[in-house]
């Protein structure tokens, strides 16, 4: 039995949490496992959205397939749940069709870097104004814990019982090499810094890539001796190094560390703007928006 004093702390007005007003209430609680990092990423995204003074009504969320791709289904905004790996392609079409929209893509490490790797690098090359939030949990969580392109060397997975032997992808280096104008990486143990980077990414006029190193206690944690969500959060706190400090360190010192921070921010001309200019120089008028027909 709980005392009257204790009871006070459990009576909860549903609308009191600062982020719950953006959720579709009838869909809660979410299907994510206990301690999943996706919920933390949603909170940081909503905080970044508030500080960027953007409206959820003008935002379209696009996602592919995976645990992280269930996010658009929970938020009160226009959302598009598309085929595996093709979220960025659908988002490109959406942005070109209506450049007034703010298009945000929620994707996972498998969705963005494995099956959709080609779409990711070409969207970065074109510099189309999308904000990609890649929730990287180092494993395929939804399908049962197979090794993913970002699994660290030596980590255990269902399909790597002796430890992964491949060198993982460094997604930030990949998108910078492909031409991204904004790139940042944080872990779920840095929610405030993450929300600031998401804000900067939303305000950046061009391709913005934000990698969120997240925990998967159910598959990655259980196989790699980090059974509880709190032990994974602790591991992120201990193993992350800010970019400014990491610049002065050797590669041996950085082995197994997560380098966090904002890596690049150099704007250049945006894709949908180029199409608009092309339309004006060739035919003398703007492209038709929100309609497939001539008005």
């Amino acid at each position: 039995m709980m005392s009257e004093e204790k009871k006070q702390n459990f009576i909860t007005d549903e609308e009191k949490n600062p982020y719950i007003k953006y959720f579709r209430r009838d869909r809660l609680p979410t299907i994510f496992c206990s301690g999943c990092g996706i919920g933390i990423t949603i909170n940081s995204f909503l905080k970044g959205l508030e500080s960027a003074e953007m409206n959820l009504n003008n935002i379209s969320l696009v996602s592919g397939i995976g645990c992280s791709s269930r996010v658009p289904g929970y938020l009160k905004c226009d959302s598009l749940h598309t085929t595996h790996g093709r979220a960025i392609s659908f988002a490109t079409g959406l942005k070109v069709g209506n450049p007034d929209l703010n298009v945000v893509v929620f994707t996972g490490d498998g969705d963005a870097s494995a099956i959709g790797g080609n779409h990711l690098i070409h969207a970065a090359r074109r510099n189309i104004n999308l904000t990609i939030i890649c929730i990287n949990n180092n494993i395929y969580g939804m399908t049962g814990g197979q090794v993913s392109p970002t699994s660290p060397e030596g980590s255990l997975a269902t399909t790597a019982p002796y430890g992964s032997i491949d060198t993982p992808f460094n997604l930030i280096k990949l998108v910078i090499a492909a031409g991204a104008t904004f790139a940042g990486r944080w872990t779920t143990a840095h929610p405030l810094q993450l929300s600031k980077t998401i804000k900067n990414g939303l305000l950046n006029d061009g391709f913005s890539f934000i990698e969120v190193v997240s925990q998967c206690p159910t598959y990655y944690g259980r196989k790699n001796k980090l059974k509880t969500p709190s032990s994974m959060i602790k591991m992120f706190k201990e193993n992350s190094i800010n970019k400014r400090r990491a610049d002065n360190m050797s590669e041996e010192e950085l082995l197994g560390k997560i380098i966090v921070g904002e890596f690049v921010n150099n704007p250049r001309k945006e894709f949908s703007e180029k199409i608009e200019n092309l339309s004006i120089t060739e035919s003398g008028k703007n492209t038709i928006r929100k309609s497939a027909y001539k008005i």
Partner: protein, 67 residues
């Protein structure tokens, strides 16, 4: 004042790990899923940094600003 929604809490205890002032403990109160809900035992130590609100993956925590 800190309030926790037992219907949304999944018992990951990230709030206990993340709190800089060790406000939360695991209580004996359980919800319908038989999960022991965290309880703000040392609430007077709370500095209202709102980190637990941000770090709760299930949006179950509400922290009221002190006047």
């Amino acid at each position: 004042m800190i309030q926790i929604n037992p219907d949304l809490c999944k018992g990951c205890y990230i709030c206990i790990e993340i709190c800089p002032k060790s406000v939360y403990i695991i209580s004996n109160v359980t919800n319908d899923k038989d999960i022991k809900i965290p309880f703000p035992e040392n609430e007077k130590d709370c500095i209202t940094c709102h980190l637990c609100e941000l770090e709760c993956p299930d949006q179950a925590i509400y922290v009221e600003d002190k006047k």
